[in-house]
Every structure is written in C-alpha cells, then in structure tokens.
Assembly symmetry: D2
Homo-oligomer: 345 residues x 4
C-alpha cells in the first residue's frame, strides 16, 4: 500500500484519476489539493464519488504531499515544473499530466509554451511516460511526463511505421478528432455546449502543442537515424464528451503485411488492441477504459496506408496512462485498477 497525493483535483483528468484510484487495492489517497475548493469534500464537489472518497480538498500549501510515495500533478501546464523539486527531494515519485517535462529540448519547449522553463535541469531525467516505448525506463523513473492525449493515440498509430521503413516518414498525416473534455474543465466560451454541440470544426491548424512532443518522441525511435520525420497534424473538435479517433495516413514506399506488422508490434501490450483486418473502431468501444484499439487499412490496395486508432482521452490519454505508469514505477501489475469494460451504449 502506497500513499498517493493528487495536486489539482478539480479538473476532468483529476476526477477521472480519483475514479481509477478508488478501485486500486494498493493505493491510499491521502491528499487532493485545490486552492479554490480547499475544505470542500471531494464527494460534494463530484457527487459521482459519493461513497467512494472521504477526503476534502486541501490547500496545496498545507497538503501532506512530502509524505507521499507518489504524487500526481493533474494541473495545467506550468504548475508542476515549479513544485516537483522539493517533492523529489523528499523521496516522492512524480507523474505529471502536463507538458512541463515532455520535451527534452528546452528551446522547443519554451517556444511552444511561451514561457521560461522553471526546472530545466530535470528535463533530461524525466521519462516520457508512454509505456509502449519506455516501459523499462518508467519502472525506475522518479519523474514521469505523462503524454498528451492526442500524442498517445497518434504515436501508437505510428510506432510500427516509424520503427520500420515501409512508409515515407517525411510526410505523415494525422487527422485527429477529439471529444470536448480534451480541452479541460475551463470556463471558456468556445467550450460551451451551445458552441460545440451539433457542430464540427478543425482547430489549431497552424500548430497544436502536442505536435513537438510527437515529433521528438518518434524521431528518437526511427529505425534509420537521420531520416527526416515530417507530420501534418490537424485536430478537430467532435461534439462528444470523451474519445479520440486518430486517422493516420502514410505513403507506402515498400511492401509488407501491415496487419501482421502491427499485430507483432503490439502482441504483448496489455492496452493496445490491434483489431481484425477490416475493422472500423469506434470511440465508445474504449469509453472509460485504458485501451487503445486500432485498425489498419490499405484502401484499394493502393499506396496509401490508413490507420485508425481510438482511445479515451481521459484514460489512456491521461489518468489511466498515469495509473499504468504508477503501476510500473511501484512494481504493481501493470493492469491493476485498469480493467474496466467500456460503458456501451
């Protein structure tokens, strides 16, 4: 049984994390912080947790985080980088949901996040928390940077292609679609029901912040170093609460059995499910679960490969992957507390 703290518990990834941790037999949550809601019982704030959580939110200043074995930062970008140092010194291990430690290249980080990095000395140590590429390093990490939701789905769809040389790495396309919860629980007009319901649009076409993290991570995996890696990534907003579907296009440059390639790559992965040939995955098939399900298509046997990958942006794309990382870090079975079945319909 480990002691766990959650910094920033009032957002969507926070409440999802609490849902998952409530079912984890090896975890005791000892603190959930929120400056704005300090003193409020968590189950009053999120009545879905009535009967499953007795804690009240505590002010970050007085929360007993230093006594924790593991601290999750379910906070906006820019918070964790200012707070992890003393926690690490106290012996806590960290899983950060934000982008603060996802990039190795400080200059790229500062360009995209338009800020000076507060803990650049930790960038090298931090492990990018995608178990499908970094499982062993995660086991021993002190500081894990949990990947972005889009970044998870797109990388999983691309991994088998980037690790090999059957497609043109320089002109990859990821047309990705996300439910609205991906934008977080922020009071913004664009996220209102009346703005996003019965509507569809692309956004951040000029450049989404998950773009550099995908590029940096994939580039490190390319089979032939020095190959140019290029990705056009267009995110879209779907009028649904949860779920991401990434539709990935790649130009085939050498023939192979792509279905077999994907199946082989993910055979041992507990949370990547390569569907039978011809499948067309739906986001609801993974709603509330840590699964990423994907299908590989080659329309008309032409030279364009299409990969379809779905995940729940709040689970495999955030809180579930964080628990998966924690399980690895503390030697628990990797799937513990992550075996939910999707709620369908």
């Amino acid at each position: 049984m480990i002691k766990v703290g959650v910094v920033g518990g009032t957002g969507y990834t926070g409440v999802e994390l609490l849902r998952l941790l409530a079912g984890h037999p090896d975890v005791e949550v000892v603190a959930i912080t929120s400056r704005a809601e300090a003193g409020v019982k968590v189950a009053d704030y999120f009545p879905s947790l009535r009967g499953h959580c007795d804690l009240a939110f505590t002010d970050p200043a007085s929360a007993p985080l230093k006594g924790c074995d593991c601290v999750f930062f379910a906070t906006p970008n820019g918070v964790a980088m200012g707070q992890v140092r003393p926690l690490l010194d106290s012996g806590a291990r960290i899983v950060d949901f934000s982008a603060d430690f996802r990039l190795k290249d400080r200059a790229v980080w500062e360009k995209w996040y338009k800020a000076s990095h507060a803990a650049p000395e930790l960038l090298a140590e931090a492990v990018y928390g995608l178990p499908e590429i970094n499982r062993e390093r995660i086991r021993s990490a002190r500081l894990v940077a949990n990947p972005g939701c889009y970044a998870t789905a797109i990388q999983l769809a691309l991994l088998p292609l980037v690790e090999t040389t059957f497609v043109d790495h320089a002109h990859l396309i990821a047309d990705a679609k996300s439910g609205v919860s991906g934008a977080g629980r922020k009071a913004e007009v664009d996220l209102l029901f009346s703005e996003s319901s019965d509507n569809f649009k692309a956004y951040a076409v000029k450049g989404h912040r998950h773009h550099p993290e995908i590029l940096e991570s994939l580039a490190s995996l390319q089979s032939a170093s020095g190959r140019r890696l290029g990705l056009t990534f267009v995110p879209h907003l779907v009028p649904m609460v949860r779920g991401i579907l990434a539709t990935v296009y790649a130009r085939i440059t050498a023939d192979t059995d792509f279905q077999a390639l994907f199946e082989a790559r993910y055979r041992e992965e507990p949370f990547v499910d390569v569907l039978p040939s011809g499948s067309q995955p739906e986001t609801r098939w993974v709603r509330g679960t840590n699964q990423c399900r994907m299908a590989v298509h080659r329309p008309f046997d032409g030279d364009t490969l299409v990969v379809l990958a779905v995940e729940d942006n709040l689970v495999k794309g955030a809180a579930g992957q964080a628990v998966q990382n924690m399980n690895l870090m503390f030697g628990f079975p990797e799937s513990r507390a992550l075996e939910q079945i999707a709620v369908v319909p």
Copy 2:
C-alpha cells in the same frame, strides 16, 4: 460459482448485463442466446467486450440453459412467458427483464400488452424485483420480474410518500425524462439520431406501459388500505443515451420533515442515496452505476412537494437491478459486481 444463462444478448440491457457479469467473481456465464446472431462471437458483435467474453451467441434451441442455476431473460415482452416453465422445472431460477410477470392482475396485463398471457399460473408466484420493497421475497423466489426503468425511479421517489399519509395519494404526478437507450436497440425511425438529437418531446401521454405496474405495486404498499391511488405519468425523451430523471409532484396534506422521512426510509438501502437538502441530482452522477440518487424539495415552503430521482435506466433500471436480484437469490453480497463509480464527465 453459479452457472448463468442469458437469453437475448444483443440488446442494450443484454450487453449491459454482460458487462456487469464479467466482473462478478461468483458467476460463470455459460450461454448467451440469439437466434439472429448464432455462431457470432459476442466480442465481435460488441467489441467493447473484447478480452472480457469468450463466448459465441448460441441458438436458443441448442443453448444449455437447463443446466443453469440462473437464467436472465433480456428479451422483449412476450418471450419469457413462453419459455420459463421448462427452465423452472429444470431447477433454474429466473430473472425476467420484460413485463411478462410484473403484474398480478392478468386482465390488466392483457389489456395493456394486447396479448393473451402464456403462463398466467406463474403470475402469482412471480416476485416483483424491487429489492427496496420485496427484498426478503426475492431471496427465495424462483421467478423474479425485474421492474421497468421508469417504474423503478418513480416508485423509489414515491415509496416514502405512499407508505405514509402526508400527501394526497390520489393526485400524484410523475414527470419523467429518459435517455433514448430506454427504448431499446430497435431499428425504428423515431429512435434515429437525426430524429431525437437536438430535440425534446413528451410521448405516450395517453398511457405508458409502466403505468399499471407502478400503480399495482404502490397500491399494495399504501399505509391505509382503501385509499385511492392516482398517478399522472408523462414520459419524455431526452437527447442523451442513458439516464432517467423523475420529477415527482405531490400535494402535501399533513406536515412533516420530508427530508428526514426519506433519509429514514432509505438509510439501510445500498443503492438508494438521499442527497443533502437542496441538492439537484444529475443523471451523469449515476451513469453506469446501480445507484438511485434523489433529492427532496418543498419550494417556497408551500404545499407542493417535489422529489427528484435519477438512475441509469440500463443499470438500476434494468441489468444492475437484475444482478442485485440475483445476488439476493443466491446469497451473494447484495452489492457484488455493482460498485462501479460513475464515468464523469
């Protein structure tokens, strides 16, 4: 470990039952029948169950139902009444999701369901499966008639009022709203996305089939026998998948502390949660769970009482309540496999 069969596994209550049973440690599902899908793997039909169900659908004629300890009928009205007799004779115990055995009065049944009843001799024996009123009888029942989804929410909202005499029993009003899954997985134009999305309407205003079951059940509970029980019940269709909110209105005829009345009535109930005074329950607070959460209001301290009750129509309103009934029938802890936390958002 008991052997369980599911008759009619391709509908919404069927797949929800399979989701819940997959997490039940005392249950082995040995057969899931479907005439139309016989031979198809259940996890191919419902990919959300991939990794959680190895069975294929079997034709009802060849399914090993007679060897089951418990058989669930997740079938439309009219199916179970023709099939339960030989199963009961074989020693199986039955939970029927349909309306076939919900009414004691055969004439009322035949009037509302416009058919001749195929097993009227079982109507007296069948136990109406609302644990909050029939817990002890359910424990020993061979045949349990699982209540309708509206009927569950409305009765739970009314029970404390009908068992006492603080309101006018003769003029109760239940303005109920349901997600579309309540209508089942039927290929009907009215249930199309393009018909019911971004839209709201009442339906069955002239009389909904859950009406007589509510009246018969509540009448049996009235504190003073012979009092007239009257209910105006207007169902509405909400553009959401799951969830029922029943807004119940009653005229107060004698003063009492209604909050205390409700809290006392449900203090020991594992699946009825009387919220703090002033609460306004949301259907998502119970999505995917077996909870019914309710709040009691008396606007402007006037003489009209308002009770708000939410449930997930597929769980407490169907499959979850069925598992709760099975737990009671077989001596398992009542909440086993029913402790999910709502998926929010």
Copy 3:
C-alpha cells in the same frame, strides 16, 4: 424604413435578432454595440452573417442610438434600466430583452434581482411584451419589456386556463425543460459541453427568476379577481441547443372541452398553434421559428389536465418576439420577417 439599434450584439439573442432583422424589408440596422468587440466586423465575429451584415460593433458610448427609431437591448439584466431614459427622450422606442421592466412591483423586482432599480418611474409605463395578452398596448408603447423565454411558453400554456375557471388556479405546476442556449453565451463551467452533454438535471428548484413575472402577469388576467394563483415551476436543462418544452399540469375543477377552449383562445393568433387532439409537440418543430405549438391532453379522462407547449427560446422566447413587438409598435404586418420554416431535421 426605420432605423434600428442593437445594444449588446454578441450574445445568443443578439445574433438571433440580427439574423431576423437581416430579412426585414422595413428595417435598417444602423448600430450594433459591444464594448468588448468595438471595431470588429460583426460578420467576422459571427461568420454565419457573412454576406448579410456589413456593420462593425461600435462602442456604446459612440453609437448613434439616439437617432434610432427603435433600440433593442439584448443585454443582461441591469443594463437597460440605466440607459433607456435618454433614448426615450430622444424619441426612440425601446424593446428590452432583459427583466429590467417586466415587473410592475418594484419591491418584488428588487428582491429577485438583488439590486436597486435604476428607473423605477418607468415600471408603470413599460408594457409587458406578450402580444397574446397586450397586443393593443404594445402598439402604442414607448418601452416594451420582452418576456422571458420560460415565461412565454408557460404563460401561453396557461392563459386559457387562468382566464377561465375550469381548473384550480392555486396549484398549477409547470415542469419546463430548456436547451442550453437559454442560459446565454456566458463562460461558465456549468454550461460547458462536457458538463451538460449526455446529462439531464433540474435546476433553480428553489425559485427561478421567471417565476414572479409569470405570477404577476397571470394574476392580472384571472377571470375572477381575488382568486389565489399558485404555481410550482421546476426548470430542467436539456442537452440540446435551442428549444423549450413546458409540461403544465392543472387540476380540473369543472368540466369543459379543453381542446375547444384552447383553439378558440388562439384562433386568431399568428404565432400560437394549437395542435390536433392527441399531438405530442417536439421542440424541433419550431426550431428557428417564432411559433409556439401546443397540445392539450387529459390522460384517462381523469381530473388532471396536461398541456404541452414548445417554442424556440431564442425566437418566440426572445428575439422573434422582440421583432413581433417591433412590428406592432411600428405598424408593420405582425408576421413580417417571422415566417421562417423550422429547420428539420
């Protein structure tokens, strides 16, 4: 051709008003104000208006409102009362969308709106802009208080009952359901897509601000003065953008042909459509239009009457009714620019 100004053009009722006015042949919109968006072209802010509106938002301070024949206030409560006096003095006539002038009783207004009224001397002069009760007074009014969206639907459903004595006026119930746009274009967490989609709830059960305006207006119409008028009003939030359905319940105290009563009351009304007996109106039937459609039911020929009324909260519940009022005030045909057909599906 009259000159029209719009104060507060960036909200939902504002953009809806601009849509309707763009099709009005007798109107020239000369100013649309917004402090925050001053200088921005309206069609850049609302691209749906591209090709239909050449104006830019102007700062309220410099907008040529005093030269207008008619000024609409599509502003939050509390704005119009501080600004209408000089406009009236300049000869402009006003239609105010807010609650500032809806109540005659200043004390009631100040209690519900928790503020001191800035122009109490105008309360007596202001005409409540429900044409179905005040048509003649609206024609000559200088200042029209456009009714609230709920207030419009509920009053239209109740008018024939309150003007006669066939039901108990003291215990009316209005269970009303609204799309999310009724809450306005405000950056609030409760109105986020991820909070209100796939969800249903009641709100403001303790008292909604439209309550006193309904009571005051209906009380003035009661056939027998001195009868007590009582209304329990529970609003609910529907996961749809537009539309209100009010389900009204009344206890019948004297027999009559209610269908005939409603048809006779509304025979000459251009925007109230009493549907054939047995109808169940849907909100989409009036989406984007100024119609209120309603149906009258008496389930099981009992003593509870049920009236179902639908409207588009942004049209008959706001901007459309405002144009209808303007048409009356300036002698244009009452239906001008209001003959749209609902967009279905």
Copy 4:
C-alpha cells in the same frame, strides 16, 4: 411560375426540399409522392411545415407528374432510372438526388451500385449538377444528376487544385466528416441515437460510393489530361444532425499563393465562400444554408496543403443544390429561395 413535382417526399432531403420550395416565389408544388404515406397530409407528417404546405402525399401511380415543368427525385438509388423516361417524354425536366445518373461510365456504375442500369442511354445526356463546373450545361439540361453530399464538399475543396498543377494529383487525401442525416431517414440500428451519439467512427474505409463520382468528375477537369488522379477518401460519422467538414490534404509540388488561387477561382460563385487566411470553418456557420465555406492552410509553410470545406449536407449537399440547379434550368436568379442565414447557435 412553374409546376413542380417531388417524388419521394418522406426523407430528409425531401422535407428539406419542401422547406426551400415553400419560400420560392416562382414555384408551385403540385404533387409530393409517397407510396407508404399516400393520403396523409404532408404537414401532419412533418409538422414543421404546418401553415406552409397544404398538399397530401399522393401515390406515385396517380400523381400528376407528367404535367410538371420540373420533377425532383428525392428517392433512394435505383428509383429514378426506372421512371424518368416517360416524364422526359412528357416535357418535364428532372433533377435527380440519387446516384442513378451521376456517372458516365456504366460499368463503373454497375460495379459500385451492384445492379444493372435501367436507363443507360440517358447517362450521356445527364448533366452532373455541380454548378461550379457545369453551370452552362445545367441551364439547358433536361436531366440533372444532383451530386452526392460528400462529393460536393470534396470537389469544391479540390477544384482549384485539380484544374491547376501545383499539387500532386495522384495522392490526394479527403478525410471527411458528416452528420448523421447524411445517411438518410432509414430504420437501421447503426443510425440510432444510442449508437451514434457520444461516439465517433470512420466507416466505408474500403470504399464509399461517392468515390467514383468524385474521380470521374475531377478527372474531366484536370488541366493536363492523362495525369493520374488518385484520391484516398475516408468518411467519418459525427454525432450531429447536419453538416459536412472535408479536410483535404495535398502534396505541394510547385509553389504558388494558394489563398489567391482559391479566391480567384470562386470570386464569382454565389455559394462558395473562401474565408480569410487562417480561418477554421465550422459546420454550423452554414447550417440550413446553401453555402460552402472553405479555408486554405499551409501548416509551417511546409509542402502539405490543407483545405477545410464545410457545407450543410442536406442543402448545398442535396436539396439546396437541387434548387440552385432548377433555378439555372428555368432562368430564375440562381440564388432565389437560397438566401437563408444559418441558424446559430
């Protein structure tokens, strides 16, 4: 004033056509056929049309279609090809919403539609009804094949690229997303609210029937004949009622100002709106209107061009384009009855 008949008036494109024609001053609708609903008043079937349509559905066999100047077929594939010949002989001109006459190549048609063509002799005469490429031929056509909804959006997004040689024509990608109404008003499980709400998926990845019509039409326009035209087209289903967004990707092979290219191409088009550089069009901006709005992006000034195009699938993608074609055929102003403003929100 011309006499118009509508064959198949009970579907979504049918009711949308009736909405548009009701506002057309030069048109008298004299017959709306439906075998199943013969005798039913159209406004009873579609109450949104109450007050705007006095006709009843008539059986196709007895409908006075031969006296019509223009007949619309709002019918499934395979109906029009069996019925247009005698109507043409009677002097009527036809706009067919189905795919029956969209392809010149009979063999391709029969392969995709898995049937023998009933009127192959008319394929050559039929004019593909995309005014942006065939305006002059439409004016004099007897038989117009109205394009598919996806086909319209995708072609409009690609036209300026295919008519020139700045991008690789052989590897175009159209990742298209449609609201559910695009699938029609069919009683199919896949189209149920509970299947498609809060969900997202790709479908027809192996090949959508609009694919050959896009290829054939675009190939005829290529600037350099003989160039290979290749298109990967993946349609997706969005949980919204109306709207298509096509995200088109093309590899740039020669530099140019793409924004200027698109603006020049569509400068004179009444229903194609090239948005300012940097725009991200939303489907609701064209809801209920005949506009196609598009934006041109070149992320990171790289060699992949991204074009975003939105339309209402039932208007510019079906009924609106049909009215536009009729206007051309009969010499009415091209925009007549097509100047609606989008209903936003």
